[in-house]
Symmetry: C2
Subunit: 492 residues, 2 copies
């Protein structure tokens, strides 16, 4: 099909961009930054021209009249969506957003450093205007935020997200208050000793291998912020080693490993088609969270791995399995999203989601953000940031023009619990298997039910097919109640 | 100028290719090899289409009628040459050569491993046919080899190369025989001890910094074979560490550093034009050889650096400066080109040059190569390979369809000595400066006289302008006679 060969070219261009982006975040010399910007912009331009070409429009028009099998039909659906979206966005608008991004990000870096929201706010104001304009150009079923959400979580509406996040917020807020009453176990304040990056890398590599991450088609490096990049036969992950605590790198490796297993798990015969691409960011995040939290922070997992970890790290010799497990599952309201535990984490997202919607709908002006931010932290987490740096300036997303991304983190948590329960129905002994070091059973299930499906179904359909239910917050809430009820000896 | 903006695009595509190629040779997971091949082929195709486009032809036609300043004129000359050459080569011929290359290389790997020339010969035969066809398509002033040479050493003819290499061969053969009479100094057979890659990397990095290599626009990694890649603001080098001998990595770092200084030394305002590109491979090699051999293997250089080297490597504690200097300047006829000293090295090249010409001119059939090879080693070096693996199968070049490249290695040596003598005329105290650790004076001279010239002049003109003489072998021969006469206490 001609359409697929054009799409394969788009896909190839994007894969080249992935390598450049990986290089930029790992090994690139600083002096090459300007050239790299130009190279990336050039590749975007090629990819944009290919997907918005008249030829693609014409081929799509012809294919509309043809009966296609489900796989081909899904491919055409996705190419059509991309073509429509990209064609709807005027080139000069796209260029203005792309041009503003580095300037706005630069201002954000400075604003965060100096704790001065006013340095960032004019750029955020402009970015917001541009993103609103983009939403109008793209169009939406109900509210402008739909158009922004579509970039990350297609086929899911703002209304649907609001419904599940509202329910989640209602359940989490009292749960967090109850758990916060517990004094932090002071064994948690232990000194962790020293952890050489080489020793950390060795043990995390071995865990990643057990998870099924194929190092023949991937690699592990270090970078300022951990990430996963690439797909199919070249899927790389990074982590960031802390010398005095193994946990951040450990869990970022398992997290990125979850993302990477998804990207390595598409059908090889669909390479360079939408069938060898992730379904949505929420589904992507479900894979990382399932591995990082549901499996990786479970007592079952550590029954097997703690002896190995302790063997690798003498610093852990005085810490029992139970203490370690508790140390990786401490619930405590905090100000910084990326450091939050799996219970409070979702409240950070709910706060951002509410603010984003009000911003896009014009109910909240940029200068009102710091106040709204603090009030919502007070409401949901019972704490107020003392500075904007630890408040509304903490995340890079808005500076980069990324609106509608935050909710996918919470959706990922919901999907992960819902998928895990479906997995448990088929493998009632999954926790025993994990405690014996068998991670492959989980992977095989994820491969067959999620990874190999690629973009065959929209996320909402995928979750219905795999779990028999629509997306809902119940499974995740039950998971948290069960886990933290037991851990904290409390009844919710 | 429209032409320059198209060329800037070609240049950008090529710079993307450089990053992919660097990655392929350093960090790429093995499973990504097939995708990488497709990505590289795609970039070549874009670049080829751009440079051969009718628009470029039209713009060149218009510019022919216009008076241009010397810089613009050189740019147009180079773009025209590339356009003419690439347009002359039919796409299917180019594709067939590109398709044969991996197959032929694969066969060569196997043939070399099993010492069976017959495994490689059918592919070499086909490659030779294709390259002859290519030469016919491209055209040539005198002999078909001219057309192949042009890819690496433009504006230089086979006749010119033959003339200087003949003279070089006549001088070197007796010189090598004389030096080979000396028994190898048995202190050269010392045990070198152990050299951790990290310690090696530290000291070579510091030497590279002293040379003026800008790590802000470059980096040093390790790879199977050392190489330099990229230009201007992103110029990376690699080396290959041996644990039991620091010399191979040390000299490959200085060698690649010489290449890299050239690539970092173009005028930044000419970025993405032919003025910010190397003049020819011979000139490129003159930069690496000048640093590696003329400076890097001189007693002056080591007067300053040997104490530092000995401080870094306890394994050298029993070796005096004089012994070390002798150990890096031992002349001994050997079978393997890449391990040869700077005197015998050129004979390896002369042998390949003679064989290549006879192959291309049809005077030597593929099956006669092993015999011809051994006879020429006997003639020039007084030794015969026992196997084809250590004979005509040792180099990858022909398997990759690279004919006309070998002579540039020897031209590099000739240029390097000729340039160095010109530098000495302006800085009669250069050797004292080097012995005091001042490498910048040499760099500043190279920058002004060679690096910043880019492709302004053809190599033959550049050498005339910089040294006042046409390319000739005298300077290099005098350099060798002087250096090895002193070292071996012999009169040539």
């Amino acid at each position: 099909m001609d359409l697929l060969s054009i799409y394969a070219e788009v896909s190839k261009v994007n894969s080249i961009g992935s390598i450049l982006s990986w290089d930029q975040n790992t090994y690139m010399p600083p002096g090459a930054a300007a050239d790299r910007g130009a190279q990336m912009a050039y590749l975007s331009q090629i990819s944009h021209r290919l997907i918005t070409s008249e030829k693609v429009g014409k081929l799509l028009g012809e294919l509309r009249k043809v009966e296609l099998d489900p796989v081909k039909s899904a491919m055409v659906r996705e190419i059509e969506r991309l073509h429509r979206r990209k064609t709807a966005i005027p080139e000069d608008l796209e260029a203005e957003i792309a041009g503003l991004e580095p300037i706005s990000t630069q201002a954000w870096v400075e604003a965060k450093k100096k704790d001065r929201f006013d340095i960032f706010s004019p750029h955020l104001t402009r970015m917001l205007e541009l993103k609103k304009e983009l939403a109008e150009k793209v169009g939406y079923p109900d509210v402008p935020y739909d158009a922004l959400l579509e970039e990350y979580e297609p086929y899911t509406t703002t209304g649907q997200v609001r419904e599940v996040l509202n329910r989640l917020g209602e359940e989490l807020a009292p749960m967090v208050r109850k758990l916060a009453d517990f004094k932090a176990d002071n064994r948690m304040n232990m000194k962790w000793g020293k952890y050489a990056p080489e020793a950390q890398e060795r043990i995390y590599t071995s865990i990643l291998e057990d998870m099924g991450y194929d190092f023949g088609r991937g690699r592990l490096d270090s970078s300022e912020h951990p990430f996963t990049i690439g797909s199919n036969d070249d899927v790389r992950i990074t982590t960031h080693y802390m010398l005095d605590d193994p946990r951040p790198a450990l869990f970022s490796c398992i997290h990125e490993g979850g993302h990477a297993l998804y990207e390595q798990g598409f059908h090889i015969r669909y390479k360079n088609t939408p069938m060898a691409e992730f379904c949505s960011l929420g589904i992507h995040e479900s894979q990382s969270r399932l591995w990082e939290n549901i499996i990786g922070r479970s007592i079952h997992f550590w029954k097997h791995y703690y002896p190995l970890l302790r063997g690798a790290f003498p610093g852990l010799s005085n810490m029992t399995l139970e203490h370690f497990h508790r140390s990786i599952n401490t619930v405590k309201p905090s100000l910084i999203r990326v450091e939050a535990d799996e219970v409070t984490y979702n409240l950070h997202i709910i706060i951002r989601f509410e603010i984003e919607i009000d911003m896009i709908e014009g109910k909240l002006s940029v200068k009102e953000i710091p106040q709204a931010w603090s009030d919502l932290y007070e409401k949901y987490l019972g704490i107020r940031p003392k500075t904007d740096s630890e408040g509304c300036l903490q995340d890079i997303h808005w500076a980069m023009g990324v609106f509608g991304y935050f909710p996918t983190y919470a959706l990922g948590n919901l999907y992960s619990a819902q998928f895990y329960n479906a997995m448990k129905k088929q493998h009632p002994d999954i926790e025993r298997l994990i405690s014996e070091g068998d991670l492959r059973t989980a992977l095989v299930w994820l491969r067959a039910n999620i990874h190999e499906k690629g973009k065959l179904y929209p996320a909402s359909e995928l979750v219905k097919i795999v779990t028999g239910e629509h997306l809902n917050a119940d499974h995740f809430i039950d998971y948290l109640k069960d886990k933290y009820g037991t851990l904290y000896n409390v009844y919710f």
